[in-house]
Subunit: 324 residues, 2 copies
């Protein structure tokens, strides 16, 4: 087996919100980034994003070589990917666009350079049809926005992706502190967006039916089960919810009520009337608070929670650090 | 209107996990509690629960008069409720049992004493049929377990519950620092359990289908959307997800993809084979960690998160404190 070069230099294709957030993260981890985008003012917008993100990244801890001066920008695709060991692609979610792009990348790049797509809506089996020579090095590495704060990366290959590529992707994102999950099958929305959609469906239903206000359903989530999902996954919580009998006892005791509730869950249709009801109720909840104030509140608590969780997992699981 | 006595003394009926946790919370808030239960060793079990819960309650902040010596226990229902201004009922979830109990309570108690049920599975419209004289003072005040740590209380009246009772319930639980939501209609599972059931359905589906392991679906939730739901409600997050355009822009841009994912969400059947798959995958995730170790990890991070959230809401929303 050929010895692979370590990933030190990353090409970012597409510097919208996701690409910009990846850029900030990679710079904070001490990596070199060359970014490209065709949008007017893309370079200035990207640099502003990175500057705004930097204080949070400093708080979460910069790697020894982290520097914003490790960012280069070019409007030219070939120059952007030259010398990169990884391409993180964040282009528009159109299959014709992506297939053409992957064809170009496949020709431009040596066979051992991994191409990772942030796509949430397309499958790698479709996308990699564009990469005729080396489709095996193409993989989905889907972040949960914004990746410079939220550590989740969902990894899933297409029909032609090699096991080696998946392993390298898991290894790389884990090495910079992200939390990877591996999908064994391609699924619309991967995992996290599906979980979110499942929850939102019932949230929208309860407000649409007039059961609760937006403010109250948000309180019920974020001061109820959401507090626990910020701490631990649902299945682990089921295990603890079973008491000394663990998950076996939980399934025995709660499969009945839970499946009975499933039968009554809503399937709302987002008609213009329902959309208006949701929007009006959200505005009543928001009141006079600006989006900037609320976003600052979200990010402040989010950073504190990530610090808490990271500290805790370092304390209780030294073996998992050693295994990295 | 008759001047109502402030709630200083609470009767707890049923001291299983929920009743014991309410007891600990009320004592920490400086209230007097008389508890009753027919189970053998109920008194000793309750006192042990309160002792175990006390350090966490100290950390979250005791009220000036908080004392574990404000707890009395009796095996006699009439003695338990004598002198109480509120009864918090946590009996078995059987309608015949509850209706009979509410009949007894209705005869024992002056008309101005509120009776709050922790029921998750029954409706107050059914339960209060037992209280022939004063059904209007009966209300559901459903906690999210364990109430001494998780502040959510879901409040919903039955057909005969008075608006005054609902107002008093909201006022009381808010006054001791809980977060109340009001349901305008009775719904199976109220709000929080429905949200949980909606999410669990997709979690179970993805593991049952072999898309991800239990460990990976837990990572995807708790390092992805769960992190944000520990911070803020889903609709407020939608509002912020819309950028400067807020919830209107979010609905415009994401209603399409979200509703498309809805069509692909799973509806698993918990056959013995599926249950075994879930259980085995959870055990692979748990490894050698004991339930006590995991529960300690959960509670440590949970307390930290509640402290973060409480501090933040006191900082940014002094008006809401003044309005209490």
């Amino acid at each position: 087996m050929v010895e692979l070069k370590p990933i030190r230099h990353i090409a970012i294709i597409g510097t919208g919100v996701i690409g910009a957030s990846w850029t900030a993260l990679f710079l904070a981890k001490g990596l070199e980034v060359t970014a490209t985008d065709v949008a007017p003012n893309a370079e200035a917008t990207l640099k502003k994003f990175v500057d705004n993100a930097w204080p949070a990244l400093q708080r979460l801890g910069l790697s020894p070589n982290a520097s914003r001066s490790n960012l280069k920008f070019t409007g030219d695709l070939a120059r952007a990917v030259a010398g990169a060991q990884l391409v993180q692609e964040n282009g528009p979610e159109r299959i014709d666009f992506k297939q053409k792009l992957y064809g170009q990348l496949d020709e431009l790049l040596p066979a051992d350079v991994m191409i990772a797509s942030s796509s949430s809506g397309l499958t790698m089996s479709e996308i990699q049809l564009g990469a005729r020579s080396h489709p095996e090095r193409c993989v989905i590495a889907h972040p949960f926005n914004p990746p410079h704060l939220i550590p989740l990366v969902e990894i899933v290959g297409g029909a032609k992706t090699s096991e080696e590529t998946i392993r390298r992707a898991e290894e790389f994102y884990t090495s910079i502190g992200q939390r990877t999950v591996r999908l064994n099958k391609e699924m619309p929305g991967h995992v996290a967006n599906r979980l979110q959609a499942a929850l939102l469906r019932e949230v929208y239903y309860l407000v649409a039916e007039g059961v609760v206000s937006a403010a109250d359903v948000d309180t019920a989530l974020s001061w109820g089960p959401g507090l626990r999902w910020g701490v631990m996954g649902a299945l682990m919580l089921n295990h603890l919810g079973g008491g000394p009998g663990g998950i076996e006892h939980f399934v025995q005791q709660f499969a009945g009520p839970v499946t009975a509730w499933w039968k009554t869950l809503g399937a709302p249709v987002l008609t213009p009337e329902v959309q208006k009801k949701l929007i009006d109720s959200v505005h009543a909840e928001v009141g006079s608070r600006t989006i900037d104030e609320l976003a600052a509140e979200r990010d402040e608590v989010l950073l504190g929670l990530i610090e808490l969780r990271t500290k805790r997992s370092e304390t209780v699981a030294p073996h998992s650090v050693a295994a990295d």
